[in-house]
Symmetry: D2
Subunit: 389 residues, 4 copies
């Protein structure tokens, strides 16, 4: 493993880490079968920011919060940004939503009807306006567009429509703004999704230009897909814009990052670091649904899981690994990687957190703080935030 002298470099790198938490993770969510409401869930964007600020206070590495429009729509985004700052966090990526209006039954920017496409494009433009107001760098675009039945619509024509909408949004971006294009294998579309894989997202982003980048949601792949390979390829092509972290056993389960396959998360972070992607140019976001577990501590745990995976990846003895790879020594090379993975990095990240003024044991600190009980008591009445609001 990495020598003692290098440990301080690892620690320094970890102190620079920034994981963005999503405002919607603090609200209610569920499956098509049931959304289980939880007492204490935020009712306003401000309350979501309060929760996110707790996550940052305890972990020290979650300084920004992603917004979802219209779920986080407010009259005054400047005021919202100030509210966030006062609580020690900042507004981050703006996520567009073109999948929850009745008009979008057959798609949004890929819809066969030009009027629906115009409406969807209008929303995307509005999101850039909001970015101007919040100072957000990134617009994250996920399209639920697709078809459920063979023949339902023309696959290629839908690409043409998609292309047109993306070009219009790209044109509208400011100099310091980017577009992050997300892909997803399936759901809610069940036959063909219009951006189903990294290749499709990549082809569009390539055509658009430097400000268009691909975002990798770790739950959006076919079974057996090697996600870290995609990460390595996109970094090599200069087209990786960021991550939506979560974990899955089956489909887009949206479980806590690192919960289903911690070794995979480690391998992904290893490729990020190896490919020069551990920089602010790559957005490290969570995108999760805490359907049955308490939400704030679930986000804390997820942030910690990303942090621990990063620590392990940073600990890989690059020299030993490279030497074994050069020699074609399969077992030694694998062992070099596994040595880092098998290390218990919890003491190390606890130290890092202490240095950052956060808590050695963030979950325990959260529970000790009484915050969870307080919000249950205070947030009574009103309408709880959820995917629909």
């Amino acid at each position: 493993m990495t020598s003692r002298s290098d440990i301080s470099a690892v620690r320094a790198a970890l102190a620079t880490q920034a994981v963005e938490t999503p405002s919607w993770a603090y609200g209610n969510s569920g499956t098509r079968f049931k959304v289980f409401a939880r007492p204490g869930v935020p009712r306003t964007p401000e309350e979501k920011l309060d929760d996110a600020a707790r996550v940052h206070a305890h972990t020290g590495v979650a300084p920004t919060v992603a917004l979802h429009i219209p779920w986080d729509k407010v009259d005054d985004y400047g005021a919202l940004a100030a509210y966030a700052r006062e609580r020690g966090v900042r507004l981050g990526t703006v996520n567009a939503n073109v999948f929850q209006d009745d008009d979008y039954k057959l798609g949004s920017v890929c819809h066969p009807d030009a009027a629906v496409r115009r409406k969807a494009l209008g929303h995307l433009m509005e999101c850039v306006d909001i970015m101007d107001a919040t100072g957000s760098r990134d617009l994250k675009l996920w399209f639920s567009d697709g078809t459920n039945y063979p023949g339902q619509d023309d696959i290629r024509a839908r690409q043409d429509r998609l292309s047109e909408a993306l070009a219009a949004v790209y044109e509208r971006l400011g100099d310091d703004q980017r577009m992050l294009l997300e892909y997803k294998l399936f759901e809610p579309a069940f036959y063909a999704t219009d951006v189903p894989d990294w290749g499709t997202a990549y082809a569009h982003c390539l055509r658009l230009g430097e400000k268009a980048q691909v975002v990798v949601d770790t739950g959006h792949h076919a079974p057996g897909t090697n996600i870290e390979f995609i990460v390595a390829i996109l970094l090599r092509e200069g087209k990786l814009g960021g991550f939506d972290f979560n974990s899955r056993f089956y489909a887009d389960d949206d479980l806590m990052a690192g919960a289903a396959d911690p070794f995979q998360l480690f391998r992904i972070m290893y490729e990020v670091i190896r490919g020069g992607g551990f920089t602010p140019d790559i957005a490290f976001m969570l995108d999760q649904c805490h359907n049955i577990e308490e939400k704030v501590p679930a986000v804390i745990r997820s942030v910690m899981n990303v942090q621990e995976a990063t620590a392990k990846a940073l600990l890989v003895d690059a020299e030993a690994l490279a030497a074994a790879q050069r020699d074609g020594d399969v077992l030694a090379a694998n062992a070099a990687l596994m040595d880092a993975y098998n290390t218990d990095v919890r003491p190390l990240v606890a130290e890092v957190r202490a240095e950052l003024g956060a808590d050695a044991d963030p979950v325990a600190a959260y529970h000790a703080s009484g915050y969870g009980k307080r919000i249950v008591g205070e947030r009574v009445g009103g309408e709880q935030a959820g995917w629909g609001a």
Copy 2:
């Protein structure tokens, strides 16, 4: 292919076919992202029966309607049964629902808390009471029970609790009543589902006795699972109780039966027939969600797809197939099966429908009838039926 003289036997068999349609297919449904409401959707169990009666009138082979409790709860089930009879259909399988109350967040009959288990069991018992009132033969049990995270609950203790509940319900069944136990790989549980595969359902049913049978939902398997093999095995073991037909490209997509892989549906029906399962002892039900398409004609199409697959399966030249199998002639045996599959059976099933007093072209007849437009005009106000109501 089957000789001319045998065609009349095929036609006679097809005339006996009965596909049960689910009341909930006529209501609204969707994904976790959005339920798109559709004008004209039923607001009451009676209106669902009206729609189901249209499906039967046009196809001639959909004589019964499955109920879902509490979605189809009424004060007087005798009156509901009479209402159905007047419209030419009958009440069928009763489906229990122990997944939509807030209490069921961590499970129903497998919940760690005995009080929740009692409540769930009470609902199952109530369903048998309803069967007594409706004269339904089958109680269909699908449990969404499971866990999202490793460690969340004890896998084995949950089996013990499941076992206890099933035994209590089994005990309550009347002499002519059965319990159909459904399995499902995942969703809404994402780590471990308590009845995830046919083996688990089979083990429980075996222990319970003859009135407990396994039901195969065609959308509930892992990728690559050979469903017709399971059908053949369960028939051999005398443990196949019925089907929930639908189709899928990815997960439990609940698309129209036969829409995603018509060849698979044919192979399933072939094993049903070969294994002696084309009898009233096996319940052939649909379980689908028409999220974006018009519901009544979607059900009609699904019934037709099952019918066409059955016709093709009946057309297999059993003698030629058996001879080629005996000879180990791989290509000839495969060709014997494919010969039937490649046949256009639409004229044949049109004749069968005509004989049954239904329509040669059910979809066209439905549209010509003006029913679809009429319900849009008439069903205004009230609350549309859906998964939540």
Copy 3:
């Protein structure tokens, strides 16, 4: 369905079809568990051409034969081409093989050792030399390169090496020659494959230029992948070079094309036609292993399956489909596609074959010809062709 007047256009299109059969399909093949030898299997490239010529004679649409080097290495390729011509077929695509030498244990063009990479590149160059001699247009490149264990080698460095090799081969191509780059999810590499998906192949081909095109092997995808979507995208990007047809239930099963999912093959051919890909610019090849079935009739059946899928795809009523798509009528659009699929096109393709001077029932004609028995009698002694020779 398509009107009567259009049927002649369909018939004319079918008469132009060309499916390339692979020389190795005529030899022995198997799984890692066992290669079952079959009497009568070719021992030389010439005998493979004899078999391929029978397939063309009976079907009328299999005019070319793909070679695999070194399996089909001969001293005089001009003589081999003449031999083919005399039998009514032509030499087609040249397939390189950089996976069966002991040197290639850790890869070929991506190997960590530059000497192995040079050797592999030398073989690729030799293949282009052979193309010069045979007059072949296409060089098909499939790399088994990859790693079995995380850490075994550097994913990104391997891409750099791959890139370098591809550039060198591209440079060597003549004006009328092309490079078809194949991708494959896994096998024989089990952790990371160096060209695992269409996106990776596309990114390389894009960089190389117009003469580099992606080839889609229908068995090389993750479960749930929508292959016809990839076809549509690659055609839109001008980067689809051809197909390796075969079929699969699980992994790269290499069964007869159309055997596992005939509906999928139809959907693929529909997108080919819709996207303007039914031209000689796209190479329609088979790549199959007839492990347990008789080889020549298995190839005949596969060619027929491709032909029938094409016929159905050509029969789609494009106008009706487009109208339903424009109206957002999901069921009508799906029905327009299914109407063509459900048609029994066997009489139609039989007519086409008759016009081409081939046989109405190619399999029956093959068996009637006595060829299968003859080769069993004649091809005694020598070493049978197989994957290893």
Copy 4:
């Protein structure tokens, strides 16, 4: 985590562990594309035992070696057993092979031809004879039987034939002998495998009686299958006979146990321990192919991986876990499990090995021993062992 006083119990449990290594893991293996031979590979069963003895000497927990007949056929099994004993190991499970004769192209005990079935049964009986001679307890049965094409053979008739053969072998077993029935999703059969899942194996074993038990090969499942659930169920039913450990990213990759998903291996071992399966009644075997890596150290690493997963599973704080589960505290329950998984157990298992008289660092000790170099020098000439010999 487990308290200090409990650690000694963990250590004691680990000292009783026994992992059986397979004789064939020491020989050459590969994919259908290529078997890469490696210098120093054993040429005889005795040389395989030599290698296995090294694994046990270094790890202390691999005391038995599984045989594969006919690959390990010898004239005098008593002498072979004595040879093993002298080297500090014992002969273990006998594995039958009914997939590598030309007769088995269409199956063995499920073959349509009774003569082939008789031959296969004869081999199985011979394996029991060998068990009598070696004193082996377990006969492991894996059948490659299945079909590649729909219609190829009758699925149900094949079950009848299978049933008949199993009954005959069961009858032949001695009082202290068992039959372990293995299942596998696919490969080498590509359409339907005759024992494809645990349910099928379970149904047969249940009918046969107590001496028939199911064996779980961790690489033999469909994507997304929860293997530890199957383990829990089979233990609950008293029908788990043992494991074939290996790991996989895609299909039956046969990589080193714990290499692809160490968290899964931990979860499996947790269910083993929780279900009372950490006893000699359960056979813990490896079944792997070291296609590209050095074989003896690969087996050592695999044994260590199983050992480390077991250590972590033993460290789970059962009380804390049970309390959190009882409370329905999803996050706390998951955290209790993860706490053990995240522990670096390498120092602990090193201590255990030291106590057992083995090596703290087995891989380093193996390399330091010079054994690997010695066998390369000594094992020259002769025919290397492999899957085919």
